[in-house]
């Protein structure tokens, strides 16, 4: 007997896995206590996984969805509150972790808990043209000239935020500059003189 040939048709996708209901619906006790992962979050080097705490099924109109509360560990950091998965539960991107691999996953997450916290700066230096503009602008408006050319950084707020934002005069461990910065892949800049 020859093995069946699988031929994929249509557009490719980044998703890899099953919908949450496909996984949870076929497990004993709806898979409470089991570990699932979103495959798109596997792109981070830190482990991200979710432990199922509670499952609620949905009415017939929402066949592809299921309401699940999980204990979420995102990029090695465990969120303090339970997370509800409902809107994204239809995405065919969930994978179940076999029971024998769970311990390994927990072990890998422990390393990141011990690492020192990354602190993001809350201010950034102004770009060079803006500095000159601001001086003129303040002169024109009769305001006092500013000495420090820094402005606060705006961050998007999300419960998934891994790095902490510096409070007050806290010293950040990461620095953002207005320049090009240090390239990640120096091979792309071969023969070009960077400042």
């Amino acid at each position: 007997m020859t093995s069946p040939v699988i031929k994929y048709v249509g557009r490719t996708t980044n998703f890899k896995g099953k919908t949450l209901w496909e996984i949870v619906g076929s497990l004993k006790n709806y898979g409470v206590g089991r570990i699932i992962v979103r495959s798109v979050f596997q792109r981070y080097s830190e482990p991200s996984f979710m432990k199922i705490i509670k499952v609620e099924t949905c009415p017939d109109e929402e066949r592809r969805r299921v309401r699940v509360w999980v204990e979420k560990t995102f990029r090695g950091r465990k969120l303090p509150n339970l997370t509800e998965i409902y809107k994204t539960s239809y995405k065919p991107d969930y994978n179940l972790i076999p029971k024998d691999e769970e311990a390994k996953l927990f072990e890998s997450a422990k390393i990141y808990e011990k690492l020192p916290e990354a602190i993001l700066p809350n201010a950034i230096e102004m770009p060079p043209l803006m500095k000159k503009f601001i001086v003129k602008d303040h002169e024109k408006k009769g305001l006092e000239t500013i000495k420090e050319f820094v402005m606060p950084i705006a961050y998007n707020h999300s419960p998934n935020r891994v790095h902490r934002i510096a409070k007050g005069d806290e010293k950040p461990t990461v620095q953002f500059t207005m320049s090009l910065g240090k390239p990640v892949s120096p091979s792309l800049y071969e023969g070009i003189q960077l400042q």
Partner: protein
């Protein structure tokens, strides 16, 4: 649609810009020939992807900071303007209002004077027109009365010859006594020969009679 090459291939090419979208309208479905087309995913090397990610993240952070800075500045300016406008600007506003009212009144007076003058002229014109119409009507009435009286006079004159019950008998007698025969004949010279039973006169005698 005009092909663009038409203009480019001319001996003297027209320099013109054609504003047209080079695509189907959005509300049409996918073209038949493109239904089963699967666009190829762009292949970006890992190095390039990471570098682009870093650069774009950097750029977004910088732009967010700048945007926030100017947004806050705008809000500050607004609030400072509002607080400054509490007393100073109220006085200023009141003065401004006073000024506006005065100007408005001045304009109103000016317009009123102009309107008065215009109304006078209009009234005079209207009176003139009405008087003219009255005169014309009078004239017409007078003419009508004159015509009517002339008619009456003529009829009165004619009425003396009317046949009334009084003179009916006399009229009948008169008519019977003088029968009128409207039959007549005309010869070549235009002589009228009246009556039916008039004897034919010889031409020689006729010539003498005429002479």
């Amino acid at each position: 649609m005009i092909p663009k090459n038409l203009f480019l291939k001319r001996s003297c090419p027209l320099i013109m810009q054609i504003a047209e979208t080079h695509r189907k309208p959005r509300w049409l479905p996918v073209a038949k020939s493109k239904i089963y087309r699967i666009p190829k995913r762009p292949e970006v090397s890992e190095e390039e992807r990471l570098e682009l990610l870093r650069i774009n993240n950097n750029y977004k952070t910088q732009m967010r900071a700048i945007r926030r800075f100017y947004h806050e500045e705008m809000i500050n300016e607004k609030s400072s303007l509002q607080s400054a406008s509490s007393e100073m600007s109220q006085q200023l506003e009141a003065d401004e209002w006073e000024k506006c009212v005065q100007i408005n009144e001045k304009w109103n007076a000016q317009v009123a004077a102009e309107r008065e003058q215009r109304r006078k002229i209009e009234l005079a014109a209207m009176e003139d027109y009405a008087l003219k119409r009255i005169e014309a009507k009078d004239k017409e009435f007078k003419g009508r009365i004159a015509r009517a009286s002339a008619e009456i006079r003529r009829e009165k004159e004619l009425s003396s010859t009317f046949i009334t019950p009084d003179n009916l008998e006399a009229a009948i007698d008169h008519a019977l006594a003088n029968p009128v025969d409207y039959n007549y004949a005309i010869d070549l010279r235009g002589n009228i020969v009246s009556g039916r039973d008039t004897p034919i006169v010889k031409p020689e005698k006729k010539d003498q009679a005429v002479a």
